[in-house]
């Protein structure tokens, strides 16, 4: 019984994270400002990271956590670079 609960909740988590990604994607398209799009991409990456973690739990393998770790540690680099670009017109000055 508990297995079934776990299975279904994981599926639900996956599904909801995917929905969140779709929402973030919509925001990326609609904007309206560039800042909105950058934030949308950041949340897209975070949701993607969550999806990978849940997938790791589903498959019972820790092998996929590295990818999640990379997003967690380095995913913000693009966001920072984009933010810097928007703020200063140059990513590295």
């Amino acid at each position: 019984m508990s297995m079934t609960i776990l299975t279904w909740s994981l599926m639900a988590a996956q599904f909801m994270l995917a929905i969140a990604m779709v929402c973030a994607c919509l925001r990326m398209f609609r904007g309206p400002r560039a800042q909105d799009r950058v934030l949308a991409m950041d949340s897209l990456y975070l949701n993607g990271m969550g999806l990978m973690l849940v997938f790791g739990i589903v498959s019972g393998s820790t092998l996929y956590f590295e990818a999640a770790l990379v997003i967690a540690l380095l995913g913000f680099v693009s966001t920072v670079a984009l933010a810097k670009f928007l703020m200063r017109g140059e990513a590295i000055e």
Binding site: T7, M28, M52, V77, A91
Partner: protein
Amino acid sequence: MPDAKLPLTLMLFLPFASSAATALMPAGARNLVAWLAGLTALAVFGLGLWAAPEIYAGTVLRAQYAWLPEYGLNFSIRLDGFAWAFAMIVSGIGALVVLYARYYMSPDDSAPRFFAFLLGFMGAMLGVVISGNLIQLVFFWELTSLFSFLLIAYWHHKDAARDGARMALTVTAAGGLSLFAGMLIIGHIVGSYELDVVLSSGRTIVDHAMYPAALALVAFGALTKSAQFPFHFWLPRAMTAPTPVSAYLHSATMVKAGVFLLARMWPVMAASDYWFWVFTPVGAATLLIGAFLAMFQQDLKGLLAYSTISHLGLIVLLLGLGSPLAAVAAIFHMINHATFKASLFMAAGIIDHEAGTRDIRQLGGLYRAMPITATLAMAAAAAMAGVPLLNGFLSKEMFFAETIESHVDSAFDHTLPYLATLAGMFSVAYSLRLIDQVFFGPEATDLPRKPHDPAIWMLAPAALLALMCLLVGVLPTWTISGFLSAAVFGVLGALTPEYSLAVWHGLTPALLMSVVALGGGTLTYLGLKDYLSGAVEGPPLLRRLSGKRLFERAIAMLSWRWARVLEELLGTNRLQSQLRALVVIMVLAGCWPLLAGAGFSPAAALASVGVWLGNTWLSPRWLTSSAPMVGMFDPALLLVWAVGVACAVGAAWQAKYHRLVALILMGGSGLATSITFVWYSAPDLALTQLLVEIVTVVLILLGLRWMPRRDELIPDDQLTSARLRRLRDLFIAIAAGCGVAALAFAVLTSEQTATIGDEMIRRAHPEGGGHNVVNVILVDFRGFDTLGEITVLGAVAITVFALLRRFRPARDSFAAPDQKRFQTEYDSTRYAPGKDPINAHYMLVQGVIIRLLFPVICAMAAFLFMRGHDLPGGGFIGGLTFAIAFILQYIAGGARWVEDRLVVLPVRWIGAGILLAAATGLGALLFGRPFLTTAFRYVELPLFGKTPMASALSFDLGVFALVFGATVLMLIAIAHQSIRVYRTMEKASVREKAAARSRGDV
């Protein structure tokens, strides 16, 4: 026979080794490099002396190494009498030239460069003469052309030197190409490229149907190299080289390569009328024209160059005659010419060096100022003219005697003695002129320098050669006969005829011809003396016949006009059209087998797609099964894909006017791809994809700064033609995309029994010592590919760096971005000036976080790298992560801030990476294993525990270093543009202000 392998190999490679060593020496070490070069030449000469007893006994020394045995090609060295004689000339004159050059070259010239080229040439020339394999011979032949090019253009700041070098290279390298084809034909006829086999093939080549083709190709190669008419024009232009080079390459050795080759192939190719009719007329024409033009040269070296052409023509003529005695005369003359002409060139160099000019009209009466030089030059010039008791007389008399003999019965053959005598007359005339107008007559008063005899060591080489001319001329049987007979026996073997080297043969017709030539030559000179002393440049009759002008016209036609036409027809500067052509060709190539091949029906293809869809997408398995299975579709992945596809299409859609949006959307599709990789159990790819995605975003952002501004109002954009073009491009893109998708689909769904992937997975751990198959493939199984790839990556990075050094931004992206300007203005009202704005205000919080993260990211890079052999990670991923750590610091603190605190030397990282990877590969050779063989075992390391230590790890470390270096180098090079541009702007504004101020003052 003693073991000749080591000495022969040394003989060939010693000059190359010294050349490499010399090239690395500091520019000031003139004496050191000269000693090294001289000792190398002497060592080769000594090796030759060591071999002399064997050679004199008629033995052929051989050494062979397997090169490409599966193609029947060996690296073989073959030293017979002829090759030996040439090797002695090359090394002996080489040593003298080195000594001479030490005193000739000025301290301003780079001595290591000169001697490195000279030694390289010596090695190449030795390679030509002692190669035992035809292909190998051609290789060294081309190498001599190359070194000749480099040496002629030694003073590369002079236009004439560069032009002369290019012309020489074009002509001789074209000949080399033709020779290569000829050698391939000969190899095909004989069935082997080994010189031994070829030389023992008897009449096989001559009787073969392809003989004329082989002859024509070989002849073109030999005649261009030996500067025969009508390809002679490059040699006088090559006189822009330093005089030691002219003495060595362009009189004694390299130009002899052509006649060397003809003599080499003489036994197996000369027994045919074709041979006679190709070489005798060319040789006769060259002999006459060269001698005629030599008389009218005003440049000392030009005179010698045309005389060289003429003497080479004489040798070609002799070889063309096809009789063994004529061949003996030819070989004898090759040796004699090398001695007296090298000596004369050295004397000409001395005159140029001491008097400051080589123009015969300016020179005169030098005998009083430089008596020793004058005496030496007179001896050598007399040998050149064929005066008795000098070596030139002996071979010239043999030549006269041979022309009298009848070879191929024809009118041309009967006129040969008269032509020969005429050429002899010219030769006497120009030799006389050289001596009379330079050393005698009224003393020159307007010379740039005050002439005097040079240092004893500069005279010594010329003196030694002149002495040899004399000794050989007086006592031929005691001095030269052993040397000559060894050389002759090497060519002719059993065919060697009886010949006599006596000075006095009695009253023969040949002697009469010599007398006529000497007398007639003197008269000719006396008659022409006044004409020559005038200001006339060039000969009276043949002034318009300029091979040089024809050559230049042909080159202009080929490399300029036709190339332009082709470029206009086929080329474009527009990236769009290039890409379009590429994609269209790809689509057509993909369609070709489907349309051309039988058995393809669209209906069947559609049916198979339908079946697949029924089995996967439409089956309710993913709903009904209790646990979602890995590798199956599930709704979450479907949604992720929808996001990815939408992002990709959106990015393409927005790429034109909204670059930033397109970039952000691309990030989304990259994430979707990476999640897909995770879903289908490819964590390695997912990691790589994510990191590449991050670096790409930063890279494109850096580039976006310099793109022109967004302009939606391009007037032509709404025209029908533009719309049609876009529609067409859309269609092409869809076709290509669908095609690639269909191909991938076909591959993925086809039944595969045993794939290479399974094989790799099976062998990864037992043979490569790693559980991470991808990494084992990259650093071990396909390590060589990886080595090539990282080398390319390094080259690309350095190219990007080099190109960006000359980067000039477009005018409208020159100024600082608007945001920055507004903010700077605003800040100036709020904050005290002088503080670094980036770290003080904008990036304060992020900067702290990012700096704290630096060690964490570095640790992660190390972690990803170390575990790479068994688990996802590796050098590439680690290197990218490490690079991101640095780039983050640049983003947070600005380039100046980072570079004040951190020393990053990306170029050194690149170099170290390549060297480390290559050294690891070479390490395997030390243990007698093939290149890049991996060794592995587990080692107990403190802190890390049990760690797999494969030698592949060190290779991977090379990859790591290179990827890091390349990434940082490229990104930072772009980032530096903004600093540089502001700096130039500041300079410009300072300059403008200064200009304004000065105007105001006025």
